[in-house]
Subunit: 326 residues, 2 copies
Amino acid sequence: MPTIKDVAKYANVSVATVSRVLNKKGYVSKEAEENVLKAIADLNYKPNSVARSLYHKTSKMIGLLIPDITNPFFPELARAVEDVALTYGYTVVICNTDEDIRKEAQYLEALQQKYIDGLILTTNQLSADNYENLGIPLVALDRQFSNRVPTVSSKNYEGARQATEYLIENGSEFIAHIRGPYHVKPADDRYQGFKNVVEEQGIAHIVVDCDFTMASAMEVAQGLFEKYPTIDAVFASSDIIAAGVLKVAKNSNKQIPEDLQIIGFDGIPLGEMLTPALTTVAQPIYKMGALSARLLIKQIEKQPLDVKNYEVKTTIQYRETTRSDA
Amino acid sequence: MPTIKDVAKYANVSVATVSRVLNKKGYVSKEAEENVLKAIADLNYKPNSVARSLYHKTSKMIGLLIPDITNPFFPELARAVEDVALTYGYTVVICNTDEDIRKEAQYLEALQQKYIDGLILTTNQLSADNYENLGIPLVALDRQFSNRVPTVSSKNYEGARQATEYLIENGSEFIAHIRGPYHVKPADDRYQGFKNVVEEQGIAHIVVDCDFTMASAMEVAQGLFEKYPTIDAVFASSDIIAAGVLKVAKNSNKQIPEDLQIIGFDGIPLGEMLTPALTTVAQPIYKMGALSARLLIKQIEKQPLDVKNYEVKTTIQYRETTRSDA
DNA sequence: CTGAAAGCGCTTACAG
DNA sequence: CTGAAAGCGCTTACAG
């Protein structure tokens, strides 16, 4: 690979001049510029980003820390981040942390040593300090973890309210909410939205805990239906949980949505592949990813942020696991 | 962040000595070593990988080029690659190419400028030359594209044979194969496996083309069932296609697996979330990803490859869309 | 065993 | 307008 020296020699100028035309900065005569441009083309020269990194202490790379790309919520998010990163000339490094504090620390160290320009975080294991001390731009995605870092999340509370109201409008009288893990902000907010609506309207309800995995959802749903056979609707805190509920319900020969309505949360592609297709509170996942990448790049490039926190709207995706009596 | 100079000053030695203890290479006195180690600890010094990259022309990063992380086959693959990369101290850059030659070229250029150490490719758009001229280690994953580059793939032909034989053993007498795109090696091999078995055994069959998307699968299946209502089994070239077939079949009130058996290919998590759960020819996806990462890192680290090409075995995952008369 | 020096490929004051 | 030089943070011959 040719270096800037080769170009300089070929164009009969100094490396400084080559650098100037490369960066379009500083004066350079028409003639010199033409020679340099020709040399670059002739030699098929590409500036070496490592050398640039060393000087600028910046890398044109951003890190995306997620719990696990294998969780169907994340691929679309990652895709969006990557798409906008590519547009702006950034490259993205994906880090699966498994919410494991040691892995997070290991990644952070590696990324820092590479002059990573910024981080998008969908994780809240390490305390906020660990990130803020890095001294690089951050964006929190899905979960807010410090009011000093810009955040992109969706209106979990409002979405949960709408879901619950919709089940009630459709005639359900005994609604179960299978909530996600405690201290995970979105799970808490969805729970709160559910609770407020059923209490305001005086609807019989039951809340049970669950992981965001299908296996635990099936176990929980099994127990729930045995104990409370008259439950006529489930609001699941995620689509994966809803998928588990659906499976158990069908195995127990419940008619869906006649005997039991089910509504999920997230809007992952899985939902529409199920039969019956899952009604869900859809988050604009791609948009959230894209928004967070833009927010991060703006900070990296020192542009002013007109909005610091985005709370995007959810929309109910009406499909086949709910009735529409309303 | 402290640099090697700070450490040298603190330890009262030269930077050369610090570098020697960092790299455990060259002679250094017990005493000097201790001082340096203490300095490193006291200052919390981490060597800068960018500077190292510049000197060594290597980056401790590997690139993973995939068509689209949003396709459910890839997250698990990516996860595996990332897991083993982390183990060996490498970081992975994910590139969604959409099988678009311009995007691939753009990524290749960016990665090359960063001294990427090697590439795992699951794509075959660019001609082999474009990659081989990069002069860095490569591994082809899922699809072979040159006999000079180590490849990890699964026994698509054999898997397809087994699937077809299984459907026949279970009594199916008119089998449809919905194949994937032409010139995609795995799709071709699966087709070939299917064709050979039905012809050997003299079973009525029909083959139709399809993309690896659920939408096109549903369209194809719809047409297929209308034209040939007596089809009693479908071998789909991927699980996504199978999911589409399943949906259409259920909408047409076919009893599964009584009226119609369905078997997919891939073994993605979606399969078991469906109801009935999908029988499929499962590839060891995680293993394939891990294998390819190891194969790549071995090349990067100039270790001999005892095996250059891996063809891993598939296994039928018996679930609910097939009978088991056999 | 150890340090001074050159070099990896760039960029940017500083002179001129 | 242009070039020589220093510097980004390392590593590694080369002397000693």
